[in-house]
Symmetry: C2
Subunit: 307 residues, 2 copies
């Protein structure tokens, strides 16, 4: 039990914020947790499940006297929220966000942060396909990476405290520069999501294959795409609108490669296909060795193996 902050204010009460609340309580990381969500329904749910010590009806009220303010709203809403709470921030307080994109957040939030208040962008790389205050659970961040992306001239002590906070929630931390963060995330997260959304959309459109068939036989690979493609639409819309440059660049590379494989299929170049498919196995092995996933069969899904 290591308390890092006194009062922590959660602005936005979705999957990430609600998981942070559970993890803070599990670790005794905060003395008090206040929360705010824009929708009345979400606030009611949060109160019913007692997600926070107090759920306020305004962001301004929630941040009153808070030592740490967590912006856990879609990237597109960060600027507005920051502007609204700015006058109510306690001197010496620290503001963090949990957005999947960083350059756009620094640009939108930074100007509103008053002198004497610290701003440390962070990005917990954990999630599920579920959303909302009831989707959270305390172990979401355990052994997952949280990227700490301090802007130039950020207060060293404030950054280290934020790092200690995320570690207390179970996360491994790594620091990254803003632009590089957005590129890396385009590769490992944003583009995979866009592709999954596209593939699911294609299947949905296909007239000669019924939805029933798509659903029934999804286990054969497609299922992993639908899992990714079920993530929160608002969050992902904002990710692509705010990480446009890196996303479009990676998309270009992706289609380039896809067309090369398409030609290999059309021309019947089995050797190229085989070599390509062999190369991808190495990355997979690396991920298992890095402890980022299990080596269990059936694509890591829980399963009994009775031989």
């Amino acid at each position: 039990m290591a308390q890092i902050y006194g009062k922590v204010a959660l602005i936005g009460l979705g999957l990430i914020a609600s998981s942070m609340a559970h993890a803070m309580r599990r670790g005794g990381v905060a003395a008090e947790i206040s929360g705010y969500a824009r929708s009345q329904a979400t606030r009611d749910t949060a109160r019913r499940i007692q997600l926070c010590d107090t759920v306020c009806d305004s962001a301004e009220a929630a941040v009153e006297g808070a030592d740490l303010i967590v912006l856990a709203v879609p990237v597109g809403a960060m600027g507005v929220v920051a502007e609204a709470i700015a006058p109510h921030l306690k001197p010496g307080a620290t503001v963090i966000d949990v957005g999947s994109v960083k350059a756009a957040v620094v640009e939108a939030v930074g100007p509103h942060v008053p002198d004497g208040v610290h701003f440390v962008p962070t990005h917990p790389m954990a999630g599920t396909e579920h959303s909302g205050p009831e989707a959270g659970f305390a172990s979401l961040f355990d052994n997952r990476w949280t990227l700490i992306v301090p802007p130039d001239g950020a207060d060293r002590a404030a950054v280290e405290r934020v790092e200690a906070y995320w570690q207390a929630l179970g996360a491994n931390c790594e620091r990254m520069e803003v632009t590089h963060h957005d590129l890396v995330c385009a590769v490992v997260s944003h583009i995979p999501h866009l592709i999954a959304y596209t593939m699911v959309g294609v299947a949905d459109d296909l007239s000669r294959v019924s939805d029933q068939e798509v659903i029934k036989f999804s286990a054969a690979g497609f299922r992993d795409f639908t899992r990714i493609a079920a993530s929160d639409p608002t969050m992902w819309r904002d990710v692509f609108l705010t990480n446009k440059e890196a996303t479009l660049e990676m998309l270009g590379r992706f289609t380039e490669e896809l067309f090369a494989l398409q030609r290999a299929i059309r021309t019947g170049d089995g050797e190229e296909l085989f070599d390509y498919f062999t190369r991808t196995r190495a990355i997979r092995r690396g991920i298992i060795e890095a402890g980022q996933d299990t080596d269990a069969p059936d694509f890591g899904r829980a399963k009994k193996h009775d031989r």
Copy 2:
């Protein structure tokens, strides 16, 4: 314990065949199991782990007196194997294959099947990213679909027996017409695999993002792609070479959709992105309702939720 066949011969001893061996023993489905693999190393391994009652040094010897012959080799090798074993098949015996593509297999194997021997193409839609005789486990087919794809004029009794056999291995069976099978599988399996291979290849090529970073931060969606992209290269090469038409058609549709989303990102059309991403959630829900996957968070991976 329901014995369906006397002697069953497994030609090819990879993930599918070895899982069939375990499942046959679990269910007492066969009186005797013989096996053959082209590589000496694979045969040695199969003998060491006692995968079959007898492991033969030739396919001809393995099928001697067999009531059911299972062609469990890559689609591209089916024709050669069928030709080799044809003269040694017992009258009244049944030959099945477990290939992921059907039109090409019917074309390659059909002509070699002698009169009085039945040929019933099947496709167990189950697998893992692991390969080889040691990768198999008895529950691989449990509650997964096995598609039965009988050619025109197939013997009704023989087809029903094959169906009973797969059900005894734990599978749910559905009959499908050859061409339709290849289209459905292109959508739910072949294209998702090709896309996963491509995305992993892109990440691997990217100079400004180190492999280390790709691997470290893979949890954010990319991991599911690497899991798919780790499947057996030979099998998948053959799938794309032999299901060329359906694959290329689906690829065309996929890139069409992808370009539409790419334009939406470029022009900043958030509404289109939001609507698209919302639509894909329905399919995901359908898959969970159809019992094809779990609703557990963290993308279905096993995980403790201590709230």
